[in-house]
Subunit: 259 residues, 4 copies
């Protein structure tokens, strides 16, 4: 399959550097390996090598991880190590209706949209218009905006339909304020997920969750790279030590506090 | 939505114990909380509470993680922390064709089938018939067998179509023996993923991969639970310290060794 | 150097099992490898092999880690991974005066006594008499009791000399209650160390420390074993995921709050 | 105790920056907080505050960790998390004779010298003269050189006395070449420790160790900082993911291979 204008691809130098690029008529891409004329790539395929003066670059198929990590961003984003597990843990799949509170730059939205397509939908809420517009632009760029409804609104003021969503993802400052609200919006027995940055927030959230949800669970995911150099295989000296705590909980159909 | 015969649900005691159950006419489920008569649940919904003499149980919606962890198994299975990240990293989504080498009990197969449905397909190879039959039974039980073609065959003897697959997952003892074979079967620029249990295997695999693939990457994923007890929030003393190393690599269209 | 009555040694089966033993006239040691008659070991040395019907055992020199891990205990003990770092971080060495609050079974006391001998001393406080007596017995057994003064007293009621200690170690339930007290007892510029089991306690302690100490630091230490089997080297599947948080802070000579 | 010329102290700004300084007549210390005239500190004590135009600095007592981390270095050094545990695991204490192979900059030597004083001694071997001279200078600066004998010699050519050392620490490129040599130099039942940077080296070392030692053990130590900000306590985003693998093994009095 030849590349066509509008196609997305990853350029890799096989040294740890990658770029996500859209093929555009008349486009140019400048690297320290040399300049790439987009039009000259029109007969290339995924997997092909581009030989430049400074060395070779390769054309790769973008993955969901590429879409997440290369997203244009104004905010801290969620990482694949966390997103991947949460999608399995919340059971997000084709046909699901998912509520996202705190769109940010749209990194999680991207992964959720891919998971629920072709038959599902994401409702995402963000009170900052600049974030929401960026996310909308990002999702449109990825061809995923048709699976997402963007709501420019403070979730505190939103009216949510009861028992509608198969899963809820919350990434806002004070998630404890909306526990009852998202409990109502979730289907019975479904999962809510919360991204929690500090230990202090954990206790506040727990105190609220305890009244509405069961199976309250909190994890953190670590991730370490092993450097694959011949004869010198070893872990990377540097490692991301923390991103956030991931809390999940299951909706039960009555206040736990009243049972 | 009322439960119907054939529906699957999770029973949880909100104390860390869960069971995956299929509602069957005349069925009974025995717990130390008491006996549950399946027929009595026919008017229940996800999220509902079942009050027994020994305490309450709740009916929850099964997630992909539940399907993975509750699978009937004869083998070590892959875990959600690893599967979730690999699906994003390999870009597995609706419509993809995926090759799995080493079906085992079908835990990864389950997650892949959910990711590629409704339009994609999994080809999975397993040389041990008992494993393959168990996996087939597991996938049928989950209603996912229509997305999977089960091959009872040693991958070394299999004839694979060139440039067919959007992603390949390999979980066998000597993956270095099939590097050239899966390279050929993959689409250009697509990702191969390998599950590697020991450090010794890592070097052998690297030596082969280096000739056919670029962006050879190896990671390990850790996962720690935080116990959410009021006033006593702390990490769990026990932790899974290791499952396997995850190697991924990108197919380029010619032998790297000959470029 | 031949073993003599009263000498301590480690017996190892080179399969992960070890025992700390004191050579006693007429003593017997029963293992599933066979029975060892203590008197028969009187001509043995460290490093020697004992051949029994069921296999060999080896006589090893006990280390500080052995003393810590093999201690007779009624309480949770501190682990070498934490103790080793704290001794360096607090600068404990020959000649130091060290205050320990919360003796427990005496595991940390043992390591501290070895670090400050021959010229230093440990003052250790414990309000539970049974714990203190066990610790005293343990230290006497190890020949270290001459470096330790055991105080059966609630630290809240203790009168501590000002500016006396080179380092303070605190392992009690409510350490925030004694921050001012240990600040007074420490020498200027010296280090206090706290063992903190839960996230909830962390905030309470921080709020107190902030008034008296600078360089407030908190860490956790992980530790993973790599199994050294020929051809199958890999990390252990099981790992201790958590023991406690280690907080250290430096005494400055006036309340920070009043500067 | 007033500071005197020649005394060492740590300056801290309580914001994460520290400096190790020796008080010198006529000395000056320049920081972005202002200039400190050494002579003006002659009446100060550990714990005192120095008020400068740009903010306060505090005078703290140097710890063993400070000596290790602030050492003048030309090489990668060992870190306190690893050194602290190894000292306990090898049982290094007052009076011991310790062999160090690969002096480097003297960071480990410093910690060992403090552990064995006042009655023990370190023999350290280094084939690079510039490293050895730096280490000698560092230990002299710390007042610890009297506990160390520095050998400028390739360990392969060194003649070591048999059964002399209570512990051996090895940090060189090809440790498998000297396994038999250090086995001979160690006392029976005592511990050898090896610092191993890559997975490839691990297998080579294991193959040699297996013939002479028992209880071959390998670990890695992780270490994560928790940032203690009021109301926002959370782990640090950055973490050191790896330094080296730590292998320890116990000398038995005959070749294991011949038993």
């Amino acid at each position: 399959m030849k590349l066509r204008y509008g196609d997305k691809f990853i350029l890799s130098d096989n040294k740890g550097n990658t770029w996500l690029i859209t093929l555009k008529q008349g486009g140019e891409f400048h690297t320290h390996y040399g300049i790439i004329d987009h039009d000259a790539l029109i007969n290339f395929e995924y997997g092909d090598e581009i030989r430049l003066k400074g060395g070779s670059l390769w054309i790769l198929k973008p993955t969901i991880e590429n879409y997440i990590l290369k997203i244009k961003r104004k905010t801290q984003i969620m990482y694949p190590k966390d997103i991947g597990l949460l999608i399995l843990r919340c059971g997000v799949k084709n046909g699901d209706y998912v509520l996202e509170v705190g769109t940010g730059s749209g990194a999680l939205t991207t992964a959720l949209a891919i998971a629920v397509q072709p038959d599902g939908k994401i409702d995402t809420y963000e009170r900052r218009e600049d974030f929401l517009e960026l996310a909308r632009k990002n999702l449109r760029e990825y061809g995923l905006d048709k699976y997402v409804k963007f709501h420019h609104m403070d979730i505190l003021k939103a009216k949510l339909k009861a028992n509608k969503y198969d899963a809820v993802f919350v990434d806002i400052d004070s998630p404890w304020l909306i526990v009852e609200k998202i409990w109502r919006a979730l289907k019975g027995g479904a999962t809510a997920a919360f991204l929690i940055p500090t230990y202090n927030q954990l206790e506040k959230l727990l105190n609220q969750l305890d009244n509405y949800f069961i199976d309250i669970n909190c994890i953190e995911v670590f991730y370490r790279e092993i450097l694959m150099r011949k004869g010198r295989i070893r872990p990377s000296f540097r490692m991301i030590g923390y991103t956030a705590l991931l809390v999940t909980a299951k909706k039960v159909n009555r206040d736990v506090s009243t049972t």
